[in-house]
């Protein structure tokens, strides 16, 4: 049966766009998430929605699960294959279809790299704000599927806030357009939002219509260092209390700073307990004024040093250095397990202290960095997947971190998605009824359970269900 399916796929896409050899498949067995690996049955590279639709129908006829993938940079296992899966890799769908400067929108294929979206808008004097850490590699389709955040979340929000419409292929192979260029639109349910962050479990996003903003005329980046995490946290609270919303308000702890500096060599201070990376953008005079206020607030709250980026190049260097934090931490130990808990901003200092206590309790090496401004933390456990005893303590620590975050009114994931990594904790956050509601939606859109099964929650593939078509 499987061989027939492969020949149907080859007939549809040609042999070069259907991978089945073990050497070709092994590199598609994982994404950016640690310690997850599963060989797919095949990997295919469709070029457009019609081909996606056709391959979904082929897979559906044979009850083969379909896992959609972009560049495979996800951090919750969302695009890690399941057994016998057909991986639909959309990186070949990489055209920017339209830049509409009159409506400030950009329409692109799902496989376009996020950085290219940013650059295309930038070249036209426009601005696409969401900037996930992996933006140089990640695809926009993946960003939409995971509702990715980034460094500018505090002021500009996340991917969801910039999706005006999308083309999506449903589980039965039908192709839908959801949304349009209208700023106001209340025609029917807002189904577009349903697919944002659905992690490939409800449909396959093949094209997106994005909202753009005018490019801020000026930016200023500041770097402040502290002798204690509390002083850094106080600074953040004081900035917000002064009614300043910087574009970026990032922090890194000592361990993270050391690893990042080791890689990026941007003269980060190695002797401080916490570093804040702050960026303000907007009208030049407002930026200058805010930067000055931020500097004063930082100093008043115990900053050891405050450094202003000399120019755009230095600012970009610092932001790039911050974006490398997660990967740079891999320098310390063989396995890097990245957490993504988020708490209301007011609870951030408490959450960081909780993480530090949890590291002590389980004798683990945990570094912490994250988006101070929006409460999104990345406690990163540095461990070795081959050390069973330590991995057991990691599991206990992960549970403790989740408990602590939920105890503070937080969420188990701020921007990475549930995928496989957070699946065990979802019900604890949502409660029985809300959790059941997710499954009801899944049931109505993908009754056979073929789209990215086993992600977010368990929903068994329906072997004997008769498809409608």
């Amino acid at each position: 049966m499987s061989a027939e399916l492969i020949s149907e796929l080859v007939a549809l896409l040609g042999p070069a766009r259907v991978l089945t050899k073990k050497e070709d498949l092994i590199p598609y067995g994982f994404d950016g998430t640690a310690a997850l690996n599963q060989l797919p049955r095949a990997v295919v590279f469709p070029d457009n929605a019609a081909e996606v639709s056709a391959l979904v129908k082929i897979a559906r006829a044979r009850r083969m699960p379909v896992v959609t993938r972009g560049s495979g940079t996800g951090l919750s296992g969302g695009s890690v294959p399941v057994e016998n899966a057909l991986v639909a890799c959309l990186t070949g769908m990489n055209r920017i279809r339209e830049l509409d400067t009159r409506n400030l929108t950009l329409r692109a294929d799902a496989g376009v790299i996020t950085q290219k979206i940013f650059e295309t808008a930038d070249a036209a004097g426009l601005f696409y704000p969401p900037d996930p850490g992996s933006m140089k590699i990640s695809t926009i389709g993946g960003n939409v599927a995971e509702n990715s955040g980034g460094l500018r979340g505090l002021k500009y929000g996340v991917t969801r806030d910039y999706v005006m419409g999308m083309e999506v292929v449903l589980a039965d192979g039908s192709i839908c357009w959801l949304g349009n260029k209208c700023v106001k639109d209340v025609a029917g349910y807002n189904l577009r939002d349903l697919f944002i962050g659905s992690e490939g479990t409800l449909g396959i996003v093949t094209q997106v219509l994005l909202k753009l903003l005018p490019k801020p005329a000026a930016r200023q980046t500041l770097l402040a260092t502290y002798a204690s995490m509390d002083a850094a946290a106080e600074t953040v609270s004081a900035i917000i209390a002064a009614k300043i919303i910087p574009c970026t308000l990032e922090f890194l702890d000592r361990k993270t700073v050391q690893c990042v500096e080791d890689y990026a060599r941007v003269n980060l201070p190695l002797d401080s307990e916490a570093v804040l990376l702050i960026e303000t953008d907007g009208h030049p005079s407002a930026v200058a004024d805010e930067a000055q206020q931020i500097e004063q607030i930082a100093r008043a709250n115990g900053a050891l040093t405050v450094r202003k980026a000399r120019d755009a190049a230095e600012a970009a260097q610092l932001a790039t250095a911050r974006r490398s934090a997660f990967s740079a931490l891999a320098r310390r130990r063989p396995t890097t397990i990245l957490e993504d808990v988020t708490v209301p901003r007011s609870e951030l200092a408490k959450m960081i202290r909780a993480v530090q206590a949890i590291a002590l309790k389980h004798s683990l090496d945990i570094a912490v960095f994250g988006h101070f401004g929006d409460g999104n933390l990345h406690p990163t456990i540095l461990t070795d997947e081959r050390n069973a005893a330590e991995m057991h303590r990691v599991e206990l620590a992960l549970k403790d971190i989740v408990d602590a975050a939920l105890g503070l009114g937080g969420t188990i994931t701020g921007e990475h998605g549930v995928g496989v990594a957070k699946k065990p904790f979802l019900k604890q956050q949502l409660g029985e009824n809300s959790h059941a509601l997710l499954k009801m939606i899944k049931q109505s859109l993908d009754p056979l359970g073929l789209l990215n099964p086993g992600k977010i929650f368990d929903f068994p593939v329906q072997e004997n269900h008769t498809p409608k078509t």
């Binding site: 991978l19 050899k21 073990k22 050497e23 070709d24 092994i26 590199p27 598609y28 067995g29 994982f30 994404d31 950016g32 640690a34 310690a35 997850l36 690996n37 599963q38 590279f45 560049s71 495979g72 940079t73 296992g77 890690v80 399941v82 057994e83 990186t91 070949g92 790299i113 950085q115 992996s134 140089k136 590699i137 690893c259 990042v260 080791d262 890689y263 990026a264 490398s324 934090a325 997660f326 990967s327 740079a328 891999a330 320098r331 063989p334 396995t335 890097t336 070795d384 997947e385 081959r386 050390n387 496989v420 086993g454």
Partner: protein, 457 residues
């Protein structure tokens, strides 16, 4: 979903030193493989991934295959061997990698593993490997003799006649395709141009050894000559041993660890690091490998200590000049018009040795040089050691991509610090009928500027 399978006992496969020249992936320290956390930061910098868009052709994909071999989940197949050969070894991924993955060791070990498995062996391939790596590039006098014969063939008009009579059409297809890019051998090799000891001009501040290389010696001996002059001009007494062995980079990069070891030991025997302040290389590919002797010979009880000392002393010429605060020449190159210059970064200089600023500083120090940056200056030109022979189509694609970026700057001089890149770009220019643009090593321009200055005194 299953957790990644790993050997039960973490220590079972690990070696005493993680980076020494292993010939089996399974014998490599497992943590070198584990260092890759597959975040994908390498993808946009990898030329072969850019060409195909397939993960197996990316650094993290290749590492996944290597790990599968180490885990005994995958045998060393022809397909695996092809993949390791398809990698340029440009090391762009090592610059992009925040996690600090030692891709050099991984690739060299994987290639050695492929060779020791014998999967790619054919009588012809085995002969060619023996002839080049086991014989020609192991015997410096033989290599110079071969170079001399090729020079005679070129200067006596035989080459022209051979080409004119279209006798080239009798050659096998691959050789025929490569024939036009046969490098032009220099009349004088380095030992004729450079005395064994070049005295420092003015006060002697340092004593350095100059490595003249193999291709550099035969094809670009003028670069070696310029290097010696530039060093002497900056207070260095330059010792240039008459007979020098190949550094073994050719061997290490192509899975011949045994000969790489032998050649590294001979090199250290020839030049005792303790006797010099620095050991200077001007060929990026060699320099990158020379700096790794410490890990190559880490398990050799007789050489480990000296190899360590050796690695500490090796410098690329531009790196050394900046380190010692080279003197800015008081004159330009002597040309009447200013040179519009662009700089192509050899992979093994910018990625292999993380040297990017220094050659530019040297160029900017020359008064009649206007440096214009080209796009993708850190992208491989497709030369990549013997890659233009083993993977001609990808090599040609990269060559044309590179030429496009170089020409877009409007430069009339392309500077680069590696003989492979030099030839690849020059051949590309010649093949596309461009006669306006010249290729030159940065130190050659600096040497010219010093010479102009001296002539004016």
């Amino acid at each position: 979903m299953t957790p990644r399978l790993t050997p039960d006992d973490p220590g079972a496969e690990s070696s005493a030193h993680p980076h020494s020249g292993k010939t089996s992936l399974a014998s490599l320290d497992y943590s070198v493989l584990q260092q890759c956390m597959h975040c994908g930061m390498c993808l946009p910098t990898c030329p072969t991934y850019a060409e195909t868009g397939r993960e197996r052709n990316s650094p993290r994909g290749r590492i996944a295959l290597m790990r599968a071999v180490a885990d005994r989940e995958l045998n060393v197949t022809t397909s695996f061997a092809e993949e390791m050969s398809y990698c340029l070894g440009c090391l762009a991924c090592t610059t992009a990698c925040p996690a600090g993955v030692d891709y050099t060791t991984l690739l060299e070990t994987a290639r050695a593993h492929v060779e020791s498995s014998g999967i790619t062996a054919t009588p012809k391939r085995t002969f060619v490997r023996w002839f080049t790596m086991g014989w020609l590039f192991k015997k410096p006098r033989l290599l110079r003799l071969a170079g001399r014969l090729l020079w005679l063939y070129q200067v006596t008009g035989f080459q022209r006649a051979f080409r004119k009579l279209r006798l080239t059409s009798l050659l096998p297809k691959r050789i025929r395709e490569l024939e036009p890019s046969t490098p032009k051998i220099q009349r004088h090799f380095s030992d004729t141009l450079i005395p064994e000891i070049t005295l420092a001009r003015g006060e002697k501040r340092y004593r350095v050894a100059l490595l003249t290389g193999c291709v550099q010696d035969l094809v670009f001996s003028d670069v070696n000559h310029a290097t010696a002059q530039v060093l002497a001009e900056n207070g260095c007494e330059v010792v240039t041993p008459r007979t020098q062995f190949c550094c073994g980079s050719l061997h290490a990069h192509n899975g011949d660890q045994e000969n790489a070891h032998i050649l590294a030991r001979r090199q250290i025997d020839t030049i005792d690091p303790e006797r010099f302040d620095a050991i200077i290389s001007n060929a990026a590919g060699c320099g990158s490998h020379l700096k790794h002797y410490d890990r190559l010979l880490a398990e050799d009880p007789r050489y480990a200590a000296r190899a360590k000392a050796w690695s500490l002393k090796v410098r690329d010429v531009s790196e050394w000049l900046i380190e010692i605060g080279f003197r800015k020449p008081h004159a330009g190159t002597g040309a009447t018009a200013p040179h519009i210059v662009t700089y192509h970064e050899a992979c093994h200089l910018c990625h292999g040795q993380k040297i990017s600023k220094q050659p530019r500083e040297i160029l900017r120090a020359i008064s009649n040089v206007e440096l214009r940056e080209c796009a993708e200056s850190t992208w491989c030109c497709g030369s990549a050691g013997i890659y233009n022979i083993t993977q001609p189509s990808t090599s040609a694609w990269l060559q044309m991509r590179k030429l496009g970026h170089l020409k877009a700057t409007g430069a009339t001089l392309v500077t680069t610090a590696n003989p492979g890149c030099h030839l690849q770009i020059e051949n590309g220019l010649r093949a596309t009928g461009d006669t306006q643009i010249e290729v030159v090593h940065p130190v050659v321009l600096l040497a010219k500027a010093y010479r102009t200055e001296i002539a004016r005194r």
